[in-house]
Symmetry: C2
């Protein structure tokens, strides 16, 4: 028996495109003599479809897609994820299902049991969990079909669910497992995925074919890295990361495999490649191709510009240099150094005249009140208007260049430097931005060294440094990591050896700035806990604030 | 037996404040000779605590609050909602529970069974559902304790769950039901609530004491309106809407009651009072008291200004009039008319100089390209900067004045008129804004009549009218309502008799403007489907776009 894994890049709601893509893969698998071709979770409609699932019309389009695929299910079986209807009047109206199509019709449907409803996941919002478990028989083999999370409660010390669906299917003695997934990337996820697949094959002693989605959908990046593992735990194959790929496997080869074939996994390579794919798909799937951003001479906008140039091509990236009276001379020099290195378009627009025009109108109202964050914000917002104006006139998407450390403590101006349609490095801590810059420069100096080594500054008042109002990022970032990613409370973090007053000050800053993050662009997610849909905090609250 | 209902306004994470408030109510109930005093769902920590529930520290503070309440549980029993710990290693770590405290200790805990995970609710994200159901015995009576949603699958044609917890409790023959709720307002909800309570007492033939939360938490407004109903369906009492209230009931009086006592429910009164409470609590709970907004002379900002003045007092509201070269003379006159009527502070800042300063810098880049939405956006964004600058300097919160129709179709400028910390009327369709204006003017002309009767215009180009680019609001709003609230697809709406091309154009506008709503302030929710946390749509999608 020959099994094909099609690791494809779907587009939410693009039924026509997704169906055509799957039909091409089916044809290819047929040419290779495959008996089964496997697509990923909710492949018909793309993942995550979110509240589109509440529209009957949307589900109907997915049903039609399944019917179209049935027409190609001759001489080959098709395994594909799609929503299905719950005919019981009780419970939610839909299941998240995996279909088995053969002989031009739907032969079997298994529903997903474990519905992730944490972090970025909302599946219980839409789906009823499975209450029956079976296997499908095909060409003398029994196949256990599972959907993504169904395999993830094995191999963990803290099970999130009370049932393990494969334990139920195991009663029917399956020969192998297929798992159709849409499992979003974080830079620690690839290891976790291999661990989980291995824990399952160790438990059931049968091979698993794990098919992941590959492509970005707004903030979520699906990295591919599909897995074929023997019943003895041999990693027979690990498909590429961040690219579409179709591969074919003889089942007997998989059963007997003894050689592990694992992709290298370097944290900065993964983050870099993930963000490039995230940018590429955000633009392509929205029908845009040109990006604009403000280039300050600092490291955040420099890294963002490089990633944009790699994702979209340097000819599609335009940067605006907007020096103020507080900008240092080297800022423009550093920015121009990068412009020349990348070969991207640029404009220089000093902001003083516009800033002065605002201050002239506001000074009768402000009276003798001293210069403070208000005037800093006006500068940042003048830049925001300029970026948006050029973006509006020429059809660019403005990229937000804020890093995760700033996002966390609110060190940024709403409607100013927080403008932008997509936050490129908003899930990358400042210390990791430095690592990423060094990774980009590993073979040659692309980002001017001065942008990397100079002390970070917003340059919104004379001689300003980030360290005037924030601790060093080497201190700040680990505290933020414990609070944001690890859900540690103040005392837990203090017990790790951090200064109590500092910990309380930082956690308070995170919490009182929730209102800013609420209005910030979607953030490309590269960690286990990004700001945005996966972190839901009250704005009006009094906890640690 | 005497039972007290304490309908109180909690504050998320303010354990100290919430506990003190409950202790005051317990003392009052004791003075009245009550045997039981009832508080609402998650009263210790406030509702919805969202991801704060993932912090052990946060749960620990709630546990401490329960211990403090136990100290007062002598001579009276206390019924209170709070999270509790799931000691089984399997499943989620928490339950959403109702505690029964008596004789200074926890006598009984019943967990919530039905965990709403739709619209604004995310409860399965945090909680494990109950799998055991019991009643508590107290002073010879058996009491069925339920939490909010537990009673909501009765009396519906489309049950969302597969179990009805009160059916299980009924096996123990309870004498009455207590339901602790945190059920957010929408202008149709009060009727639904009475219907649901009545369906439950009809099914079990015993009285119900339904205790709701009263107060706003960011976008969610909890309206109170707690209910006491006899086993025969008599509405013995309905507590006030939008205010805290503690009342006491003799159980025998409730059992024997024959007179219905129902609050009047007028749609515009409810919306008006809900928004006023939403504003009041947003400011008070964040520690602010002053609001600022841009006053254009149009109806949206006029209605917003009136609501703000009523919530915060006219002395705490400041408006900025920012005419452009495209503003008509009557705009400033209409705005000043309202300023004088309300007695609020105002400034007039013509925006031309700042607009010109931008255009001077941008014209070399824009070249001969014609005036378009770019220049309109610059005007709106100059106003955004001015509003934010004064807000930053003097410590106001800027109010967003966008209505739901504009929000839906993207008729607004991101970082311009979409600025603001809170969207006051973002869940009110334009046709409803007119109704609200007439309601405000019912006794005297507060909003200048001209603001109500003139054709709506953004005044961003000469002689501009909303109707240049949008259908009349009388046509637009019903289409939006069907798509947004009713989840109807394009064909369903066309089948209602609307023009197919118009329906497709409107639905496309809604979908392609998701990116704007993503970055807009939280919206005070007054309908069954508001933009924000209760409506989760992909930005990158190709459905109807």
């Amino acid at each position: 028996m020959k099994i094909s894994i099609a690791q494809l890049n779907y587009h939410i709601g693009n039924f026509e495109g997704n169906t055509a893509k799957m039909i091409d893969a089916i044809k290819l698998a047929k040419e290779q003599g495959s008996d089964i071709v496997c697509f990923s979770e909710l492949a018909t409609c793309g993942y995550p479809p979110r509240d589109f699932l509440e529209f009957d019309d949307f589900i109907h389009l997915s049903d039609e897609c399944i019917q179209q695929l049935c027409a190609y299910a001759n001489g080959i079986a098709i395994v594909v994820g799609a929503p299905s209807h719950n005919l019981d009047p009780k419970g939610k109206n839909l299941f998240n299902s995996v279909y088995f199509l053969a002989d031009n019709k739907i032969q079997f449907v298994q529903h997903k049991t474990l519905l992730p409803t944490y972090d970025v996941f909302d599946e219980y919002r839409y789906f009823e969990p499975a209450k029956e478990w079976n296997v499908v028989e095909f060409q003398g083999k029994k196949i256990a079909l599972t959907v993504c999370e169904d395999i993830w409660d094995v191999g963990t010390d803290d099970p999130l669910y009370t049932i393990i669906p494969l334990d139920e299917m195991q009663k029917h003695n399956p020969d192998f497992i297929i798992n159709v997934s849409a499992s979003p990337f974080n830079f620690e996820h690839a290891h976790a995925r291999i661990h989980t697949v291995r824990a399952n094959v160790a438990r059931y002693q049968i091979p698993m074919f794990y098919v992941n989605h590959c492509g970005a959908q707004t903030e979520l990046i699906f990295d591919g890295g599909s897995i074929v593992m023997s019943g003895k735990g041999t990693l027979v194959d690990e498909l590429p990361y961040f690219e579409e790929c179709i591969r074919h496997y003889e089942l007997t080869d998989v059963v007997n495999a003894t050689v592990n074939s694992e992709q290298p996994k370097n944290k900065m390579t993964l983050i870099h490649d993930a963000i490039v794919m995230g940018l590429k798909d955000y633009f392509r799937k929205l029908g845009f191709n040109k990006a604009i951003l403000g280039l300050s001479g600092g490291i955040d906008s420099a890294v963002t510009a490089v990633l944009a140039a790699r994702a979209l091509g340097p000819e599609n990236v335009r940067v605006i240099l907007m020096p103020s009276q507080f900008s240092t001379g080297h800022s423009v020099d550093d920015a121009l150094g990068l412009v020349n290195k990348l070969g991207i378009a640029h404009d220089i627009i000093p902001i003083k005249d516009m800033y002065d025009a605002f201050m002239e109108k506001l000074s009768p109202i402000f009276g003798d009140l001293p210069f403070n964050v208000t005037e800093e914000n006006i500068q940042a917002r003048v830049r925001g208007i300029l970026n948006m104006a050029i973006s509006n006139k020429f059809g660019h998407i403005l990229l937000n260049t804020t890093n995760k450390s700033e996002m966390a403590v609110g060190y940024g101006t709403l409607y100013g430097d927080l403008c932008g349609g997509l936050s490129v490095i908003g899930d990358v801590y400042k210390t990791e931005v430095y690592e990423l810059a060094r990774y980009i420069n590993k073979d040659e100096e692309i980002i001017p060294l001065n942008s990397i080594v100079k002390p970070p500054s917003a340059e919104l008042r004379p001689n300003q440094k980030d360290s005037d109002s924030l601790p060093d990022y080497d201190t700040l970032d680990p505290i933020l990591y414990q609070y944001v990613e690890k859900r540690q409370g103040p005392q837990d973090i203090i017990d790790m050896g951090y200064d109590p007053a500092l910990v309380k000050r930082i956690l308070r800053l995170v919490n009182i700035n929730e209102f800013k993050r609420y209005q910030t662009a979607p953030v490309l997610r590269i960690s286990t806990k990004a700001f945005g849909m996966g972190r839901r905090m009250p704005i009006v609250g009094k906890y640690l604030s």
